[in-house]
């Protein structure tokens, strides 16, 4: 709650500085008519990764003195370099949000070096010391929200079998699968999560096939980590299974089947960035956080979520938001029986070991390769 007060104060400072800057014209880098460019890899109404960012952009559009320009379906090639430059040269953008992971290296780094006075904010948490100082990268520990989703899923599943439609066996995805499963096992220690990797970020046909095959195996609660969860959510709901969402709130797609979900909270973070810049503060080049920092959030519970599940999930959510709870706490055994985190070891949110995760925890049915 303390956090809320701080951010409100920052807000006041921020808007005051914004007004001052524009009055005196002193802060050329951040005048009243600042143009901000958003670049998406897919379509901005995908009920997923890109829509989450577009919601953040929409929050900026509501702030006065800002102009937001958006471009969607920009591939991770030199096309994105040209899109950034086009926004800079033709629209006068001074702050850019190239939101896809693959935009960073080499594309955004190249453009950021070419325009050292402009600010670039990339989603992915990839910034290192050797990268340009005007290039920032941020990301959220969304596994915290997945953990809470897992608790709800664990209570709701009647068969004790959960399903996970995943894109690629990379650390970020594995971390979500593991956190979801560990959460579910708090609710029901016998729960299993069957995972299917589709091989790519946006494969609607394979995602639908995976969803159907999981449900055919008796799985009754599903979640996913792909760019557009729409396919999984709609198909699962049609088949009578329950779902936990990802990226944004998908409850409009399946109001009855939607339990909860792990969401990005870009609509809170982006205005914060803009206010920091307007106040003359430097945004840290490497900016990460979880529930506590309000970078991720948990969707409101659906009607099918039991009282017991709500209580347990709320309890853990409050602990995570307070910052005193560790998800990856030893002993953790992987699904081949190997101890991956020994007893007594706590791997907190920011532990670099978690960034290299290459295992699936006990209870997950599936293989990383």
């Amino acid at each position: 709650m303390d956090f809320g007060r701080i951010s409100k104060r920052q807000l006041l400072q921020g808007s005051a500085a914004l007004a001052l800057g524009s009055t005196f014209g002193a802060r050329t880098a951040f005048a009243a008519d600042t143009t901000i460019g958003f670049i998406y890899v897919g379509s901005r109404d995908d009920y997923g990764y890109n829509q989450a960012h577009a919601q953040g952009a929409a929050a900026l559009k509501k702030m006065s003195g800002l102009k937001v320009v958006e471009e969607e379906k920009v591939p991770e090639t030199d096309a994105v370099e040209k899109t950034m430059e086009s926004m800079i040269n033709l629209d006068g953008a001074t702050l850019l949000f190239p939101t896809s992971f693959g935009y960073y290296n080499p594309h955004m780094i190249k453009v950021a070096s070419k325009y050292p006075k402009l600010r670039f904010q990339h989603c992915g948490g990839l910034w290192t010391e050797k990268d340009p100082k005007n290039a920032g990268s941020y990301f959220g520990y969304i596994d915290e929200a997945q953990y809470v989703s897992g608790i709800v899923a664990g209570y709701t599943s009647k068969s004790g079998k959960l399903g996970f439609v995943a894109a690629k066996p990379i650390p970020q995805v594995l971390r979500n699968i593991n956190a979801f499963t560990l959460g579910a096992r708090l609710a029901n220690p016998k729960v299993t999560t069957q995972v299917i990797f589709t091989g790519d970020w946006s494969m609607p046909v394979k995602e639908a096939e995976a969803t159907n095959s999981l449900i055919d195996q008796g799985i009754d609660v599903l979640t996913c980590h792909v760019d557009g969860p729409k396919t999984m959510v709609e198909n699962a709901a049609r088949r009578g299974a329950m779902v936990c969402g990802y990226h944004v709130n998908q409850s409009p797609l399946a109001p009855k089947a939607y339990l909860t979900g792990a969401e990005w909270n870009w609509e809170a973070l982006y205005p914060k960035f803009v206010k920091m810049m307007a106040a003359g503060e430097t945004i840290p080049n490497f900016y990460r956080g979880g529930l506590k920092e309000e970078i991720v959030k948990v969707s409101p519970y659906g009607e099918a979520v039991s009282e017991q599940a709500r209580k347990h999930a709320d309890d853990i959510k409050a602990k995570l938001a307070a910052g005193g709870y560790t998800i990856f706490k030893g002993p953790v055994v992987d699904n081949k029986g190997k101890a991956v985190i020994t007893a007594g070891t706590e791997r907190g949110q920011k532990d670099p070991e978690l960034e290299k995760m290459d295992y699936l925890v006990e209870g997950v049915i599936g293989a990383t390769s």
Binding site: E70, T77, K82, S86, G102, P171
Partner: protein, 369 residues
């Protein structure tokens, strides 16, 4: 242009013997410029109506398209950068078309070429940059060439339809690329974006001096000119066109049709493979899934719009590069969705194909008949 054409046409109608040579000699060329030009104008007109239906001013549309594609020096560079890979991938369809073959697998040859050229660079870490670049080009050309030659061989020796086989080979190429990039060739530090190791900044192809357009444009133009000379000014090219016109007749006069098919397919694949090498050496610096950006598929469109003429591929690639470059501005200024650019491409495609029926039917261009 219209007036230039109209004058001699009028002259003919008055006195047919005035200058029949001019139109007999150049009538065909004028036709090749006039008909696609008119098709383009017609397509833009229809697209204008389409956009007007959504309440946008078509004149704004044309202005932004012009501004985004050709209006400034930056826009020109944007257009040319996007055109660069398309010239090479279009040749992958245009060359086999001389033999009457429809090859649509340029994307696969591009990916395999990229993979081979990256492997070549990584295999010689201490060689001087020029040697590395030459080895990369050779590897890309040979690997891409063999890839499409496979389709040619399947057609020649097994009677497999080359359109289907080349398309299916795209998915095989993509699977091989993903397999190697996520397995054997993976840079262990590329955690969440599986990629090969980088070829090194020193080995990168720079930009054409004075621009930020990479050398792929020059390679593409040279390859297109070389292809044109090969097809229209050599015995080999003549043989290919004879075989393309009537394969039985070609066999009867003793042309080695099998050899023609394999050679042309190799050259076609080689140009797409070179495009893959350029994408690695000038843009991405390594191989990963970003390379599957669809240049191979857009190349098919370019080849058909150019009516499979290797020389016409150059302006058509620039036109489509321009549409791509201005597409961003249409999204940003007019709020049109990304799909509107695809609608425009589709309309142009339909108009150009339909206008095929006009060749040889425009009376005043026939000269003395």
């Amino acid at each position: 242009m219209t007036s230039e054409v109209a004058d001699p046409a009028d002259a003919i109608s008055i006195s047919p013997a005035a200058d029949p040579g001019f139109l007999q000699r150049y009538g065909g060329t004028i036709e090749y410029i006039l008909i696609p030009g008119a098709a383009l104008v017609g397509a833009l007109g229809v697209f204008g109506i389409f956009v007007a239906l959504f309440g946008k001013n078509p004149l704004d549309l044309y202005f932004y398209m012009y501004q985004g594609a050709f209006g400034t020096w930056f826009s020109w560079q944007n257009t040319l950068t996007r055109a660069a890979p398309l010239i090479l991938t279009a040749l992958c369809t245009a060359l086999p078309a001389q033999l009457g073959m429809v090859i649509i697998g340029g994307e696969g040859a591009l990916l395999i070429g990229a993979l081979a050229s990256t492997s070549a660079a990584l295999a010689m870490p201490s060689a001087p940059p020029l040697a590395v670049q030459l080895a990369m080009a050779a590897a890309g050309i040979i690997a891409g060439g063999l890839w499409i030659m496979l389709s040619g061989a399947l057609r020649q020796y097994r009677g497999v339809n080359e359109t289907i086989s080349s398309l299916l080979l795209v998915y095989i190429a993509l699977a091989i690329l993903n397999h190697l990039v996520e397995g054997m060739m993976r840079d262990p530090t590329s955690l969440n974006k599986p990629s090969t190791r980088e070829i090194g900044a020193a080995n990168m192809l720079g930009s054409i001096p004075g621009t930020d357009v990479h050398w792929g444009l020059v390679f593409g133009i040279l390859a297109a000119i070389a292809s044109y000379i090969l097809i229209y000014h050599t015995v080999f090219g003549f043989a290919a066109r004879v075989a393309g016109g009537n394969i039985r007749a070609a066999r009867i006069v003793g042309l080695g049709v099998g050899k023609l098919i394999l050679t042309i397919c190799f050259l076609a694949g080689a140009s797409a493979g070179l495009a893959g090498m350029v994408e690695v050496a000038a843009v991405q610096g390594r191989t990963n899934a970003n390379l599957a950006a669809g240049y191979g598929f857009t190349g098919i469109l370019v080849a058909f719009l150019a009516r499979q003429n290797p020389l016409a591929v150059i302006p058509v690639a620039i036109l489509l590069g321009g549409i791509g470059a201005s597409g961003g501005l249409l999204q940003r200024r007019l709020g049109l969705p990304d799909a509107s650019v695809q609608v425009l491409q589709g309309i142009i495609f339909v108009f150009v194909l339909a206008s095929d029926a006009l060749y040889g039917r425009i009376g005043f261009l026939k000269g003395k008949s």
